[in-house]
Amino acid sequence: MQVGRVGDAGGVPTETVAGTAGLRDFLHGLPGVDQVGVEERAKRLATRSIKTSAKAQAIDAAIAMVDLTTLEGADTPGKVRALCAKALRPDPDDPKVPRVAAVCVYSDLVGVAVEALEGSDVKVASVATSFPSGRAPLAAKLADTRAAVEAGADEIDMVIDRGAFLAGDYGKVFDEIAAVKEACGDAHLKVILETGELVTYDNVRRASWLAMRAGADFIKTSTGKVSPAATLPVTLVMLEAVRDFRAATGRQVGVKPAGGIRTTKDAIRYLVLVNETAGPDWLTPQWFRIGASSLLNDLLMQRRKLADCVYQGPDYFTVD
Amino acid sequence: MSEAGGVGGRPPTGSMSEAGGVGGRPTEKMSEQRLAVRKTYKLFIGGAFPRSESGRTYPVNAPEGRFLANASQASRKDVRDAVGAARKAFGGWSGRTPYNRGQILYRVAEMLEGRHAQFVDELRAAGLGGNAAAREVDAAVDRWVWYAGWADKLGAVAGSANPVAGPYFNFSTPEPTGVVGVVAPDSPLLGLVSVVAPVIVSGNTCVVVASEPAPLPAVTLAEVLATSDLPGGVVNILTGRRAELAPWLASHLDVNALDLAGVPDEQVGPLEEAAAGNLKRVLRPTGDDWTGDQGTRRLTAFLETKTVWHPVGV
């Protein structure tokens, strides 16, 4: 791959629809991903044994990387406030537990979250652009985005148009991301690829590069509404993409696996993957996030198990 | 449908069929006061043990007329459910590595050996002499081991690289046919394992109609299969009237092949005719000798050969 020769792929969108053919050539010129090989590599990294002090370090890092998420049709202001309370004090019994990185909600509930988190450094992230399907006119997607930003969202999690991507209409996908990026203003843009619908690792790599070149600050695996959601090999391919993108352009892009990460063991495997693929530069909440909800309590339980040497029960951790 | 009590009932151990094995009569010698707990013999569909949806049973008697048990009398709807379960299991089972299938089949043999005494009891109840019953169980276990070993060898023995005249790499591999309907012979254990093992070892799934007069070992075999890591639905076992069930299997359009091992001669023709409806592969009855070397016929009968061409060039 001649990533070193992609001179135009800087931090801001530099391409337009007129560049569609070039975009296609570029994306299809990326080196292929061998499915068996990438899955084997991910599986092997998953055998890393993270114990004692390394485990304690990883648990705290993972807690600080959590985007605590609620994305249900049944979400209410009450539910969001409860989640925010949890985000601020993950473990009421232990003030040393770090806060999570962000709370992630639907755009109409951003205001509630902003108010609940006011004065803290916990960010408010909002899904937008007709999450999770993304099937809406661009104008509606932009309106959705602007509403979230105006309500105070620090971060926007948009979905790409998978239909356009799978149909080969890369220009449309690119332009939508670029437009949403513009609508974000100062808010950070996370671009959800919905890898479960892209199916192949080749597509995941292409979509990652497409999103980064269109201005994504983060690339994110999944909405959590499609199975499979985040997997280790998919995340591995995306981590390779951000690594290569930085090598080519100098701009660092974050990665966020989301969906299906429920246990401490899972979370630590992702951190190992980051550590040994993109490298330690990505091991901060600024560059790596985990989209999850039930994960947090497992991290807290394991944290206390490490400290107390007693296996924990769920009754001792708050459910919000 | 299924009851927890249907599986894993504690098998009688030791060789005392009087002590409450099959047909459990009140015991005579050892524990005069104790009444044996009998087992309910049910169907085996999708890894569960349901009764027939029809609610029917039929009495199974020993050759001398003694009542042994009521077996479920399966209906056409049970056939339908069993075929559905077999189809659902096919993708997963055929997608396992041959090595994994071999391991699971070998595990089945281990479990079979563990139920040795129970099978001997059931075969004696079905009329075999004590030594003959033990030999039959020995042979059945060894037969299962023999087929287990084929899992990762079929491809090498039945496949080939074909030296075509041209710049192509060409190879043929055997693949399982799909869902196989098996009408088991009346040899209640050895005959049964001799028709079930070769069907599933290559990745097929099956619906088995057990021996009509001696169905009880088949249900015990189901209990073995259920505790052997074999995925539910790979083997489904129905007891009942062969003449009632076989035509439904033969005409079912989601069944890919038929083994007519246990079908009387006069019924073979009509069943083959029904099977022609979707061009099922049919293995006709091959005679009753289940003791000798079985060869590979029963394996290859339920395989498709897939040939792949690929150009060779820079």
Partner: protein, 477 residues
């Protein structure tokens, strides 16, 4: 965040190493006739692990006689289905004791526990499992309706995969009805001795498997013994040639699995990240102590620079150290002698003008260690491109066209294996057709399976191990 993995040592408490071990002959551990012994050492610490009996001529006689008696009286006449069940038992016992064996293998050999646990032991069990299934199906293997065994097999194995090589030798021999006398390598005898115990747990008839420990002289006595019908050797090409000379003119059937200098060929359309993994796995797996290691990397010139950058970055993440740490990727060099050989050839590489590179890498103070090493600017005329180093040392060469890649890949007296990396299927097959090697891996490397025949062309030996083809080595056909 600097994510340092804390030590994660595998507990060695399930391994019980005795202070001394005898010879396993006729179902019993016995002392050698002349009482000689040698020491087996943990290469990661240089600690002595145990005293091992050294078999002399008298002991080898006894072992061969025991094997002969077992062959004539028990194992030869036994029906295949009964032999099968013994082999299944052994396979199961290995599965049951696999963690113990993996740890012991790592202690004795120096290989990382991750590999002994995840590669060696599963393959060992699979090998017995697979061949168990052949024991009662030999008439279907394509060697006639009733192929007969050879008799007593003399088997000499190397130290790089001690138990796996034992399995490759013993499983097919027993499945085909032969009995064996096996000599493990002098630096790695311990798992073979536990295997002897497994034979006893399986109630294997005495004399069917005999294990005689010792060094090269014991091996020579064994393969030259008049009482053996078959010689199987895995090891260096040099010793292989000596053995070939010694069995010349005898009735003994011979198979040899010898050295290699495999080319791993990466084209510009390869799946690059996986190719990097494959190159790393090809040469740093088992510290490069692999006869089929991809020790010559042939890179297509358009991507040479980029591939090397990625390869170096990847090598920098390799974790070298304690073999029993579950996170170790590269363990200890098996012996002081092997370490010396690797050092010597690496120095020759530098002297001949190749550029040497290793990632920053802290090596333990005690034990035998060698950092993963890369040589660039290597030409076919360099010794490091021609001689088998048998260590974690990769020589990088480049090519311009597929023909050139084939010419360079084949430009060696060896012919054990090769790798091809390209997303173009027809090119894989075109390369495979032309590569003079017994195994060609495409878009993968160092893969083994009991169903897949393994063995070399040219001076990498003859005969195959594994698969239907591997049975021929132990049948009178």
């Amino acid at each position: 965040m600097n994510f340092d993995y804390a030590p994660a040592p595998e507990s060695a408490s399930i391994v019980d190493i005795r202070p001394s071990y005898g010879l396993f002959i006729d179902g019993e551990f016995t002392d050698p006739a002349d009482g000689r012994s040698f020491k087996s050492v943990n290469p990661a610490t240089e600690e002595v692990l145990a005293e091992i009996a050294e078999a002399g001529a008298e002991d080898v006689d006894r072992a061969v006689a025991a094997a002969r008696a077992a062959y004539e009286n028990v194992w030869g006449p036994m029906p295949g289905r009964e032999r099968a069940k013994y082999l299944y038992r052994i396979a199961r016992l290995i599965q049951e004791r696999s963690r113990e064996l993996a740890i012991l293998e790592s202690i004795d050999n120096g290989k990382p526990i991750r590999e002994s646990r995840d590669v060696d032991l599963p393959l060992v069990a699979a090998h017995f499992f697979y061949h168990a299934g052949w024991a009662d199906k030999l008439s279907y293997a394509g060697y006639g309706p009733d192929p007969r065994p050879l008799g007593v097999a003399a088997q000499v194995i190397p130290w790089n995969f001690p138990l796996l090589m034992l399995a490759w030798k013993i499983a097919p021999a027993l499945a085909c009805g032969n009995t064996v006398v096996l000599k493990p390598a002098e630096t790695t005898p311990l798992t073979a001795l536990v295997f002897a115990d497994i034979c006893r747990q399986a109630d294997l008839p005495k004399g069917v498997v005999n294990i005689v420990t010792g060094a090269g002289e014991t091996g020579r006595l064994l393969v030259e013994h008049d009482g053996v019908d078959k010689v199987a050797f895995t090891g260096s090409t040099e010793v292989g040639k000596q053995i070939a000379r010694s069995v010349a003119g005898t009735r003994k059937k011979l198979t040899l699995e010898l050295g290699g200098k495999a080319a791993n060929v990466v084209f510009d359309d390869a799946p690059l990240d996986q190719a990097v993994e494959g190159v790393v796995n090809g040469i740093f797996f088992n510290q490069g102590h692999v006869c089929c290691a991809g020790s010559r990397l042939l890179v297509h010139e358009p991507i040479a620079e980029e591939l090397l950058d990625r390869l170096k970055a990847r090598m920098a993440t390799l974790r070298v150290g304690d073999p029993l740490d579950k996170n170790t990727d590269v363990g200890a060099i098996n012996s002081a002698a092997q370490l010396e050989k690797i050092r010597m050839l690496s120095q020759v590489g530098e002297r001949e003008g190749a550029q040497r590179w290793s990632p920053p890498c802290e090596l333990p103070d005690r034990g035998y260690w060698f950092a993963p090493t890369l040589f660039t600017g290597v030409a076919q005329s360099h010794r490091i491109a021609r001689e088998e180093i048998f260590g974690p040392v990769l020589s990088v060469l480049t090519f311009r066209t597929p023909d050139e890649a084939v010419a360079k890949a084949n430009n060696t007296p060896y012919g054990l294996s090769a790798g091809v990396w390209t997303e173009k299927g027809s090119r894989i097959l075109w390369m495979a057709e032309r590569l003079r090697a017994g195994v060609v891996w495409a878009n993968t490397y160092n893969k083994f399976d009991p169903t897949s025949p393994f063995g070399g062309y040219k001076e990498s030996g003859f005969g195959r191990e594994g698969g239907r083809h591997g049975l021929e080595a132990y049948l009178n056909v």
